[in-house]
């Protein structure tokens, strides 16, 4: 049987709120479960997802988030962000979605490659040791584009 070329999915994660962290992680995991090659590139606010000091403290904020179906004025009441975050974490656990740190470990063990953006790391003064262990390398945008040649690309 002829060797089939493996489909590759490249995912760029540019947002660091809790609700925007999951789409990339879920798709990466689903792709690996199906046998696709997966490479993730974390940049700008997406760096929070792979930063040790931030990964367990991502939040979902109701302000300016039309999906929350809540007036912005309510969102500014102290504690609303924490409440929304706690509710979302509870809902995620109920459908067997792991917390973000565990999710990163899971997709990395599953063979997904995880890269941090060099420019964002420089901008935010982040070194390798500031990032979670699952990060394979800190690379530039050109390098990432080179290693994902021919891949299907998602920007989140």
């Amino acid at each position: 049987m002829a060797e089939e070329k493996t489909r590759t999915l490249a995912i760029i994660c540019s947002k660091g709120s809790l609700d925007m962290a999951y789409p990339g992680l879920v798709l990466a995991n689903a792709a690996r479960m199906l046998g696709l090659e997966v490479k993730l590139f974390f940049t700008f606010w997406g760096m929070d997802i792979i930063t040790k000091s931030k990964v367990d403290h991502l939040k979902v904020t109701p302000v300016g988030n039309p999906a929350m179906h809540m007036p912005n004025l309510v969102g500014v009441i102290p504690g609303t962000t924490d409440l929304a975050t706690a509710m979302m974490k509870k809902s995620l656990e109920k459908i067997d979605m792991p917390p973000v740190a565990e999710f990163l470990e899971m997709i990395h063990d599953a063979g997904a490659e995880i890269y941090a953006c060099r420019m964002a790391a420089d901008m935010m003064n982040l070194d390798r040791e500031d990032l979670v262990d699952e990060v394979d390398d800190i690379v530039g945008a050109m390098e990432f584009l080179e290693m994902t040649e021919g891949a299907q690309m998602l920007f989140i």
Partner: protein, 107 residues
Amino acid sequence: MSTVAELKEKLNVELDAEGFLVNPNDWTPEIAQILAKEEGIEELTDRHWQVINFVREYFKEHGEPPTLRAITKRSGVPTKELYQLFPKGPAKKVARIAGLGKPKGCI
């Protein structure tokens, strides 16, 4: 690799268009061996069976297949090993060899 029609004849069970068992109760360990070969797994080791048996038990209990996360958390076979045992897409391979339908979950 056999076609679904050839497999149907060989196994004498009902299969869907993608070669998954239609009725999980038709499953036997012998069928698992044959389907594993179809999926490119030459021999099912004890570790493969640990996963398959967990999945079968879980299905019996819950009426639905476990997520891969549930498998890696509770079967005693961690993620890395699961991907080595069932390379190139464990979700469909595990479900097919264990005689369950094509998985529909996201995790």
